[in-house]
Symmetry: C2
Amino acid sequence: MTGPKIEIFEQFAELARVLGQANRLELLEHAAQGERSVERLAQLTGLSLANASQHLQVLRRAGFVRSRRDGKRILYRLGDGPVIELLGALRRYAEHSRAEVRGIVSAYFDRLDSLEPVSREALLTRLGDGSVVLLDVRPEDEFALGHLPGALSIPFADLERRLAELPKDTQIVAYCRGPYCVLSFEAVAALRAKGYDIKRLEDGFPEWKAAGLPVAATVDNLFP
Amino acid sequence: MTGPKIEIFEQFAELARVLGQANRLELLEHAAQGERSVERLAQLTGLSLANASQHLQVLRRAGFVRSRRDGKRILYRLGDGPVIELLGALRRYAEHSRAEVRGIVSAYFDRLDSLEPVSREALLTRLGDGSVVLLDVRPEDEFALGHLPGALSIPFADLERRLAELPKDTQIVAYCRGPYCVLSFEAVAALRAKGYDIKRLEDGFPEWKAAGLPVAATVDNLFP
DNA sequence: CAGTCATTCAATCAGTAACTTGACTGATTG
DNA sequence: CAATCAGTCAAGTTACTGATTGAATGACTG
């Protein structure tokens, strides 16, 4: 081979191998929501503590996440390279090439929301003229760690109880963790059934943040 | 976990695992230049025939390459999903996050070409007004399988012998297989030492083609 | 239609990866 | 300063991956 290519390819391959594990991808998505302790991440993914810890270290060595100590806890958050962009490229490739992905997507998602999602750009314009209400359906702690400015936080679990907070005369745009997060799909399905005018944001919070758009946070790192 | 995520992550991880092997990435880059037989790809990468064949089948199952039979030969070419985009995202992430990659790049490449490369957009404009000569330094067979329109083919190995074909008064833009292909770097270094005004195209042939820009081919599939 | 060529398949082996368990470290708390 | 808590480390098991070898397929060639 000509020159330095083998080494470069080996570096690329090492990074790709780190993403080649479903549990790590899941940890990564959770870390992308905001800082999280190892224990919390282990809970969220259903992994054992030691296993989660080891996976997180693999992710850290590859730069996909960073960590810092806070008292006895160690908090992991997304790394600062173009991680979301890389995951987005992987997702787009998968959607194009893997019938399984398209199948799962259509089975779970299209059934719930046959309408076009709202793009980031469209949302920005409509937020400007106040013609839309933004709804964050992620759990409260994820909202606290960071959310789209002006978003209303009603975790999906509380939605039924808190319907009164939602307008019937203004369109609602719901979002959650990412393009494949079911929460926003189910919120759309549930609220539409009740007569609300609601759509889904195409991406989730991490994509919004990665695009360099403004983010609001209620706490800094209160909920690990 | 909520819903269909685990399955989706497993699909993503499967794809990432396929890219998690340097030999496969190398095969992929060669297939991205144009259709190639298994034997040729094995030669180019230095892999055994059976090994190359198996890796190519892994790549095919993931949709990164396609194959067709031509007589006794089986020809592999790049798949038609956003493969180049995915590899580009991987490359950009690696450049950002891996000191090793930056190190290798600067050790081998920056030494050879400290000047800014020419972007696709800039090249397009300058091709329009005829203020630039395009130079393809890849081997002849890769040129034959596809090249940028109007490019002059002088394989790097023949460069010394064929200097007469190059203008001294017009700027030259050299390109080869991709951002890390050494050929164009070395061509730039060699010709600049001889007093030519020469720069490097930022990307290579596959990126150009993937961007949907026009491509010329001398033969269809004559050189497998 | 036997021989040859290009590729794939099947079997094997060595090396690596994922998960578990239990011990260890480092910071807080009584 | 001992006890506790959060996380890491080290060792072991099991499963998978990559490479090699030789046999098997499938298509052309005389």
